[in-house]
Subunit: 461 residues, 2 copies
Amino acid sequence: MNREELLFSVRSLARSLDAVAIAHIVKHTPPSDLVEALDILNTEETLSLLMTLKPQARAELFAHFSEARQDALLRSMPREAVVQLFEHMPSDDRADLYNRLSDEAKEKLLPALAKVERDDILRLASYPEGTVGSVSTSDYVQVSPRMTVTEALVHIRATAPDKETIYVIYVLEDGHKLLGTVSLRELVLADGKARIGEIMRRDPIFARAQWPRAEAVELIRRYDLLALPVINGGERMIGIVTVDDAMDIEKEQDATQLARFGGTATLGGPDLDVLASPFSQMFKVRVFWLVILTFFGILTSTFVAAQEEILTQMIVLAAFIAPIVDMGGNTGSQSATLVIRAMALGELKLKWQDVWFIIKRELPIAAALGAAIAVLEVILAYFAKGVGFDVLIVVGLSMLVCTVLGGVIGALLPFLARRIGTDPATLSSPLITSVMDLLGVFIYFGIAYAFLGELLIGNAV
Amino acid sequence: MNREELLFSVRSLARSLDAVAIAHIVKHTPPSDLVEALDILNTEETLSLLMTLKPQARAELFAHFSEARQDALLRSMPREAVVQLFEHMPSDDRADLYNRLSDEAKEKLLPALAKVERDDILRLASYPEGTVGSVSTSDYVQVSPRMTVTEALVHIRATAPDKETIYVIYVLEDGHKLLGTVSLRELVLADGKARIGEIMRRDPIFARAQWPRAEAVELIRRYDLLALPVINGGERMIGIVTVDDAMDIEKEQDATQLARFGGTATLGGPDLDVLASPFSQMFKVRVFWLVILTFFGILTSTFVAAQEEILTQMIVLAAFIAPIVDMGGNTGSQSATLVIRAMALGELKLKWQDVWFIIKRELPIAAALGAAIAVLEVILAYFAKGVGFDVLIVVGLSMLVCTVLGGVIGALLPFLARRIGTDPATLSSPLITSVMDLLGVFIYFGIAYAFLGELLIGNAV
């Protein structure tokens, strides 16, 4: 069924509320497509449609809605249906949903659930946002090391319907201590009489629940895992992070890193979302950076204003301030992002030899770029404005120095950021530009005084 | 074994070349860790170590080296070992390796391989870089729809060792036409006598070999797939893209998007890599953008120079040029990246209502930000420099207008980029800043003339 047909079906089903047809379409449509198509209905219509489904199917579909839509649907949902949701939803999605309930709603909900579910929700929901624990699911398969392969397969068949993945099976002993893992592939290929404890892989790669979730994503990516076991402080296994969740987290992290590089890094709080963040938070974070950038701008402009003497005499110098200082910032922005990219791909690490290697590469490039643009600027200045030779030298030399300095500083900033433990993108492009503006005017007027200083003294006399 | 122990082992094994010990460590160490540890050996030492392994183990480990290291090792490898590599490497990695051989080396290699392998390499290697085909592997499991579940499991057991994944099984009919898919989970849970054709999922999600590889990554992410089947123009299945490869591609794409946003977008060619790109390519791409940015800078400075009249009279106006025009660029950089982030997360689409929605959100924020910074700047200008009231009005008003304009234009640019079919990050932060610089000076001097124009006429008289 293509998108048009799906939208048509959704509209007609919203009117007919034909339970059999709805169940059929839910069974045969990928949840992400169905949820997107349901966008055309309002909350009330969506809820009516959901209520025709059986609790299990309803909960599985519900888990695919965005957080905003889940919250809206929850507000109008009958209490019994809400309890059923929490009984049937995947454990990671329901822990997230639980955390978004009001304290009052939480108090009403918990007594209505069975102890097993209550404990599971409270455990997963207790992990702070952004940690590995907060993106873990407890829907994994566990076996004992004493089981045979055949017994394990029987157990897997019996428990599979509730599990996120049955392709990685976790071998636990009493107390939920993780001994090893075995893949479904290995079980299918193994001799049925072998014991799990003999064929399992020991010392599996794992993450701790309190680690930042980015570390779980990186482990999954680096070791090509389908799922990563999560251990808590008491060395108990509390859940897994699956590869599909890792891909979603990675997408969000990288998209957010770009936003940070545009100058919107939040120091500690949740990332800015142009649609979801409240006005006050959006204002606070953005004004913080703009104030810092303006501060640099004020320093720069104060310095420029103090050069009144030379400027009054050579007003044409003012015209070149912008192109010269911009070159430093633009070149720095280029080199910074190229270095960040190389770091993300694991090509560069926080080692002195990598720092030195990058400087050695960037220096000649920045020099060549600076020379090329300086020549261009000087030629244009001469033919277009008939600028004097002495000023041309100042402009050309400043352009070259600013470019080289900008390129090298830009390349070093990501290393500095990693050294102080922050994401390199926090040193945003506008920040790099503003810092280079300030350095740029120092260099420009420094060179101007060096070359044209005698002229001033001559004129003043 | 932790990192220190691994490095120690690698060093001692490089000396002893104890084949049994080497085979043991290869079997029990994740390939990515081992390859990283082998970094401390030079090419010759690494090669000696590799040659102690059996061809299959050697090829599997070889596939995990970086492209640069693979090429270096290949140059010193005996011819027979090279042929063995191509016989045993995973099909996607060997197609990539094949494409990096010289034409001469290719001609020498092909006759030494069996027809099956030759055809496989040539087919996968024929897909242009950046397409879905170029990241596909032909190591997938196929079954016939007429098989029973039990027969299929027997077939899987027999062919599994050579397959990237056995968790998604592809149901093909004669001519490699893809009929459906079935998961290992479903097979394990199903009745042994059921026919594959009855239990398979029809109309599977797929990608075409000539599509950009980013589309395969997005399909895998959106539908939580472990593998995505790839179809060629003749409706034949030619391979799969696995989720672990998708994660690696996603990482590279996002890291490159950040680099593009720093001002290094290549129009058509391969992305810039700060370590690998040759000097000439690095220079060409970066100078291209710097020339464009300088061009804007020249326009801006030419305009500013033409305002000699008002500047000579009110030299203090020159001091505020930078902070005011910078605000436009900084605010625009913030809003552009926030919009790009929302687009990447699927929150915004290329629809007029989304464009309108964003403008409605950005306008009040940008106005508030502009007002806040304008007040800050005006207060500082007054107390620090004793600037006159009339100039303060010009400065404050220009700041406000530039900020609002910058924020709104910045928010619209990603939509524009998507509309013309390019990655929004190509409109880099430096470009946004340069455009806003130009608009900024128009606004600033426009307002200056409007408010201070009479003064000039008065003075000139």
